[in-house]
């Protein structure tokens, strides 16, 4: 192994500055900036063709950018791709496993290509098979694996050399809901162990659950960045909805709710439904129920609706994500 064991002091695990990549007339990346601190989980969110995979390919040394700089742990991906490859794990958009070999053999050949000692590869393979729930299937040929099993093996393969930065390109696309939940647990565990994770996704729910910071890209540009909560707040705070049993209590309900809310309380035509903006926080719902109860109003339902990332996406791009999903 060449002497790339330089200690890097960069506080950023992943860095992109003004990255441009064109394919013919398509500007796949049009000046992308990204900064992922060490140990963080970042979500790259965007519809089909946004430039998610292209970003990952630039960062993992598979594509040379036309302009801009990209660094992993402070190491330039163009200047020293080899040192970058020693630090990263890549799980591409489509599972890249050798179908004709067993799960264990797949882990073995990747481990040996990382130049780990054989004994270390074997031990690490056992560990990963166990962790990804593949021990029973370890010595079966991958051809017969389900999509979820392949994906787990795929991720296990990218973890064999304990990378400091892990790239996951749409890790749950094509998985059934149960496998998706399993995958989320796995990613959360990796994050808890301190691995920096950059994952791309088209699922807002996924970014919301896994990523502490979300970078929204569209047409090769970053159009928004922030924590899931920040992004949601950007399009307005939470709203309270209340339903009561009897219309004759309308007046009393409104006067009870007004001091608890952050704005005007509006009532529906049936005079039993109310809605108002609130400052979302713990204890809002119990507080509302208690106050209405004390005022002698029979409450049927109280709900705080926070804006979803779908709302955010719609506001930012003018499109819903679902409309894009049949493309690709």
């Amino acid at each position: 192994m060449p002497g790339h064991t330089l200690t890097v002091n960069s506080p950023l695990a992943v860095e992109m500055n003004g990255i441009v990549k064109t394919f013919g007339d398509t500007r796949a990346l049009d000046g992308v900036d990204l900064a992922v601190p060490r140990g963080a989980v970042y979500g790259l969110l965007g519809p089909n063709g946004a430039g998610k995979t292209t970003s990952v390919r630039v960062l993992t040394t598979l594509l040379r950018p036309d302009a801009g700089t990209a660094r992993i742990d402070g190491i330039d991906v163009v200047a020293d791709p080899h040192a970058v490859r020693q630090r990263i794990g890549l799980t591409g958009q489509y599972a890249a496993v050798e179908e004709r070999l067993t799960a264990r053999e797949n882990l073995g050949f990747v481990g040996r290509l990382f130049h780990l000692p054989r004994a270390r590869v074997a031990a690490r393979a056992d560990e990963l098979l166990e962790r990804f729930d593949l021990t029973d299937a370890a010595d079966r040929v991958v051809k017969g694996f389900s999509g979820g099993m392949r994906r787990r093996l795929d991720i296990a393969m990218s973890l064999i050399a304990e990378p400091s930065v892990l790239f996951l390109d749409e890790p749950t696309t094509g998985l059934d809901p149960r496998s998706r939940l399993g995958m989320w647990d796995v990613i959360e565990e990796l994050a808890a162990d301190g691995t920096t994770v950059l994952l791309t996704t088209q699922y807002l729910e996924e970014a919301d659950r896994l990523a502490e910071q979300i970078v929204v890209i569209d047409h090769g540009r970053v159009i928004a960045e922030g924590s899931p909560d920040e992004l949601k707040q950007r399009i307005g705070g939470a709203r309270l909805s209340v339903r009561i049993a009897r219309p004759e209590n309308q007046e009393r309900a409104m006067s009870t709710l007004t001091p608890l809310c952050a704005g005007e309380v509006v009532s529906d035509d049936a005079r039993t439904g109310f809605s108002a903006p609130i400052i979302a926080g713990d204890g809002v719902v119990p507080g509302v129920i208690r106050a209405l109860d004390d005022a002698g109003v029979d409450v049927l339902d109280v709900e705080v609706r926070r804006p979803s990332l779908d709302d955010v996406f719609l506001v930012l791009t003018g499109r819903t994500t679902d409309a894009e999903e049949d493309a690709s």
């Binding site: 390919r57 598979l62 591409g92 599972a95 890249a96 004709r100 070999l101 053999e105 050949f109 990747v110």
Partner: protein
């Protein structure tokens, strides 16, 4: 030095990835053996009686080296198909993201195909001996002849590698890999004497490197004088390897899984 050790290590890991599956894939083994046996049988029994070659009392002694050569050359197509398959499945992307020697992916593939081809060759020799073929030139010449054939087939593996890395699907690699091998092997001295070909075709057959390779191997297997043909055959193989390995390396660093 370090780089070379790396290249060898990584190439071997890659070759092993392909070689491991061979003993498991019984179908592949059966078909890999049947094809050369079928070719031997068809040519020897169908054409054998009708073709007379000046200077050869026995057409089989003329023909069989030609079939050996053709079978080995056809075996090179696996290289392109295999690489196209790895590309299509995204495995090449994974490999390109690893801190491994860049060339090892193709070197490993060509080495495993060489081993596979040697297996086919052994099966074929056994069958050829059983139906009457004899190495009348002695052991050293027979080994030299075999080495020339295998080297040429290895060189064509690199041509196939370039093809496999240039096309966008396994199916395309399959057709593009085989199509040119028919004129290459038939417009040659492998099965007939080129002096019986039409005037315009004869020079093509004579200049065909496959003719040179076949002629050298045939002469050596039969204990006839080889002349400079063997050197030319060697030069062609080395030249093809140099040119096409450079092209393949360039394609490899550019290729993507789409």
């Amino acid at each position: 030095m370090n780089r070379l050790r790396w290249l060898l290590h990584d190439s071997w890991v890659e070759a092993e990835r392909h070689l491991r599956i061979i003993p498991r894939n019984v179908e592949l083994l059966i078909f890999a053996s049947i094809q050369p046996i079928m070719f031997l049988a068809i040519f020897v029994y169908v054409f054998g009686g009708s073709i007379v070659i000046p200077g050869f009392d026995n057409y089989d002694q003329f023909l069989m080296p030609g079939i050996f050569a053709q079978t080995l050359v056809f075996g090179s197509a696996f290289t392109g198909i295999g690489l196209a398959d790895d590309l299509q499945k995204g495995l090449v992307d994974r490999l390109r993201s690893l801190p491994m020697s860049r060339s090892a992916v193709i070197v490993g593939r060509t080495i495993s195909d060489l081993v596979r081809n040697l297996f086919t060759f052994v099966v074929m020799i056994v069958v050829a001996l059983a139906i009457g073929f004899r190495f009348t030139g002695g052991a050293v010449d027979a080994i030299t002849a075999t080495a020339l054939l295998v080297l040429f087939s290895y060189a064509l593996s690199w041509v196939q590698a370039v093809i496999g890395l240039s096309v966008s699907s396994v199916e395309a690699a399959n057709s593009a890999g085989f199509i040119w091998m028919f004129p290459l092997t038939f417009v040659s001295s492998a099965f007939v004497d080129p002096s019986n070909m039409p005037g315009w075709l004869r020079p093509v057959a004579d200049a065909n490197p496959f003719t040179l390779v076949t002629n050298s191997a045939r002469a050596l297997y039969n204990g006839n004088p080889v002349g400079n043909d063997a050197w030319w055959a060697l030069a062609w193989s080395v030249g093809i390897i140099v040119v096409f390995s450079t092209m393949a390396a360039r394609r490899f660093s550019r290729s993507t899984a789409g």
